[in-house]
């Protein structure tokens, strides 16, 4: 009881009885009832809850998909098709699960973009942000292993390309790839371990989400002004105000999601996902799912080996540079709270940062376009310029702006912000 302070006194004797022994209702009221939310949060703040809903949808549909799935190279593709054709509403399960991954990423990318623009990664939310990056990494691993499971051309070749990246690591690379595959090629052991991990990781994500939300409930939410709430006039209780607002956003998001599921279920996938994996036949052009394309572009942006000057001794092969850059592009987000040390959180009051971060959002789509095209000509150059900007922004521009930027005057409080409480 010490953890939750005073217990509430509930009228319902059963609720009261339970709450005196396990103060779950007291906790719910504290964290989801009266929990103070900045009154100026806009709809971008709803995407955390939306992402969490998508996680729930993915776990539920995923378990039901697993009930009909056979993890064997000769049967996997047909078992997914069997689900589509002969299981009652199996087509619905599969299309929700398949498109759900995309919409989960859409929600999470918007959630991250909001955090970047409004400086949600800054003190006191550094750990909250870092656990968020961990969730992103886990999601990427889960999604990647998930689309391996139908054992289509896209699955098999996606697995081949991505796991082969590890062969770029000096000395241990080739051994590591064999270890990852569980053999000397992408085969049944690979599929089986991917299936086991694809089932496990969502629950790991769920655990890290719990920590992420826990940390959030210690610091409270950031807001568009970027000034912490100071008086009760700056906040509203989570329920019913923000919970209702979040529900509006969620229902609109789900409407678009279901529109795609029911009417354009193949809009976000590739035709190679409907051909069985054939290790003897490489597709003309291997692309990952759209949500990996920006990082895929970074991977392929490096085309020149770095050698010891005036010799042919390769210090850093192009492939290894690409692999390091791709993983680095996400890992560096962990250090963002210390790369950007400008005390002002919200991009609204940072005239230079605002444009740099918008350029990053555009850069994300430029990289996505580049990743979808064969790595040659203009798309390759776009990918290279996009990669340069990505790293220059985080490693040079943000550290410099930390001290050199002339910030606009920041309102004293949320309610003193003229942009705060106009009708929304």
């Amino acid at each position: 009881m010490a953890h939750f302070g005073e217990n509430k006194n509930f009228k319902n004797p059963v609720v009261n009885w339970i709450d005196n022994r396990l103060p779950i209702f007291t906790m719910l009221i504290k964290e989801y009832g009266v929990f103070p939310m900045p009154r100026n949060v806009n709809y971008l703040w709803s995407f955390g809850g939306i992402a969490m809903t998508m996680l729930g949808i993915m776990i539920l549909t995923g378990i039901m998909m697993a009930m009909n799935y056979t993890p064997h190279t000769t049967l996997a593709f047909d078992s997914v098709e069997r689900t589509m054709r002969d299981v009652n509403f199996g087509w619905l399960l599969r299309y929700i699960h398949m498109n759900g991954a995309s919409f989960f990423f859409i929600a999470v990318y918007i959630h991250i973009a909001r955090g970047l623009f409004y400086g949600s990664y800054k003190k006191p939310r550094e750990l909250l942000w870092m656990f968020g990056v961990v969730i992103l990494l886990l999601m990427m691993a889960t999604a990647f292993m998930g689309y391996a499971l139908p054992w289509s051309q896209m699955s098999g070749w996606g697995v081949t390309v991505i796991t082969s990246m590890f062969s770029a690591i000096p000395l241990v690379g080739d051994g590591l790839v064999t270890w990852l595959w569980g053999g000397f090629s992408v085969d049944n052991p690979t599929l089986n371990r991917f299936y086991a991990l694809h089932f496990l990781l969502p629950f790991v994500i769920l655990g890290v989400v719990f920590i992420h939300v826990w940390a959030l409930h210690v610091t409270g939410s950031n807001n568009p002004t970027g000034v912490e709430p100071k008086t009760p006039a700056d906040t509203v209780p989570f329920a019913p105000y923000v919970s209702t607002k979040d529900s509006v956003a969620l229902v609109f998001f789900l409407t678009i999601f279901l529109g795609v599921v029911f009417f354009y279920p193949l809009a976000l996938t590739e035709v190679d996902h409907f051909r069985k994996f054939d290790p003897m036949q490489t597709p003309a052009h291997i692309v990952p799912e759209w949500y990996f394309l920006p990082f895929y572009a970074i991977l392929r942006a490096f085309t020149m080996d770095i050698t010891v000057p005036f010799t042919t001794i390769v210090l850093l092969p192009a492939k290894l540079q690409g692999v390091l850059a791709m993983f680095g592009s996400i890992i560096l987000l962990v250090f963002l709270p210390w790369l950007d040390r400008n005390p002002v959180k919200s991009g609204r009051f940072r005239p230079v940062f605002k444009w740099c971060i918008w350029l990053l959002f555009i850069d994300f789509f430029v990289l996505m376009y580049s990743g979808a095209k064969p790595p040659e000509g203009l798309p390759l150059i776009m990918g290279q310029l996009g990669t340069v900007y990505y790293f220059v922004l985080f490693l040079v521009i943000l550290p410099v702006l930390s001290f050199k930027e002339k910030n606009l005057p920041v309102p004293a409080s949320i309610s003193a912000d003229p942009g705060c409480c106009k009708k929304r």
Binding site: R85, Y95, V236, T244, S247
Partner: protein
């Protein structure tokens, strides 16, 4: 700077002209299909004609392993008609109590009979090329239905300067223009039971629609359910917006 710019320009031009240089087939022209779009549903009569084309022409080389004869009731056939259609095929079953494999007429619950016992046999009978399984063909090709229709109607005389390998055929929509499949459909090849004119275009259109159905047999159920779900969700959106407005009105 100038040099860099001109290099960029060259790269831009090169990448823009790549598609025409590459050995890709021409993009198949866009056709109107009754099943496309939000409200599009299958044309059952066309599906039945398309099945006839499959049965009489395609099925001699192409398998459709993901389909069962019972699925044909969705085309508007009665269960008895499906039984008859299935029974026209002989499949291998077994082993029986004596440990012997035996042949029997197919039943509605059986998968479509494949023309070859395995891929190797299919290749051996087709000059080394494997006729793809057609269960998912329209979902497994760029431009889907338009592509299938394009291939079926895209056979023509090879250009004089085109170097065609022996045993292959010229098709303007096939990647590389050299396709192992000989022209499968010709005008008048199938005599439709419903008396529809059997032009090449008609046969190609019908079988394309049949293949679209085969790759997505639950499309009608999906779109029908989707419509109800959308109406519900839009109403839900309206209610939530109204609730939120009313709630927040007193704190603005």
């Amino acid at each position: 700077m100038k040099k860099t710019l001109s290099m960029l320009a060259v790269a831009a031009v090169m990448s823009a002209s790549l598609p025409s240089l590459a050995n890709e087939g021409a993009e198949p022209p866009h056709q109107k299909w009754p099943h496309q779009g939000v409200f599009g549903m299958y044309d059952k009569a066309a599906l039945q004609r398309g099945f006839q084309v499959y049965k009489e022409v395609c099925s001699s080389c192409h398998s459709m392993k993901l389909l069962s004869y019972r699925d044909l009731t969705q085309l508007g056939y009665t269960p008895d008609q499906v039984k008859t259609v299935a029974a026209e095929n002989t499949i291998t079953d077994g082993p029986n109590d004596d440990g012997e494999m035996f042949e029997r007429p197919a039943r509605p619950a059986d998968r479509f009979r494949s023309p070859f016992p395995n891929d190797k046999a299919a290749r051996a009978a087709n000059g080394g090329a494997l006729p793809p399984d057609m269960s998912l063909l329209s979902k497994a090709r760029e431009h889907g239905d338009d592509y299938i229709y394009g291939i079926l109607t895209g056979y023509e005389e090879k250009p004089a300067d085109f170097d065609l390998m022996p045993g292959l055929n010229y098709n303007k929509y096939f990647a590389g223009h050299q396709i192992a499949m000989a022209k499968p459909l010709n005008e008048g090849q199938v005599t439709y039971t419903d008396g529809t004119a059997n032009t090449l275009e008609q046969e190609a259109r019908d079988v394309t629609q049949f293949l679209a159905w085969a790759s997505e047999p639950h499309m009608e159920q999906r779109k029908g359910m989707g419509l109800k779900v959308m109406i519900f969700m839009l109403a839900f959106c309206g209610i939530m917006v109204a609730a939120k407005r009313k709630l927040w009105a007193n704190i603005h």
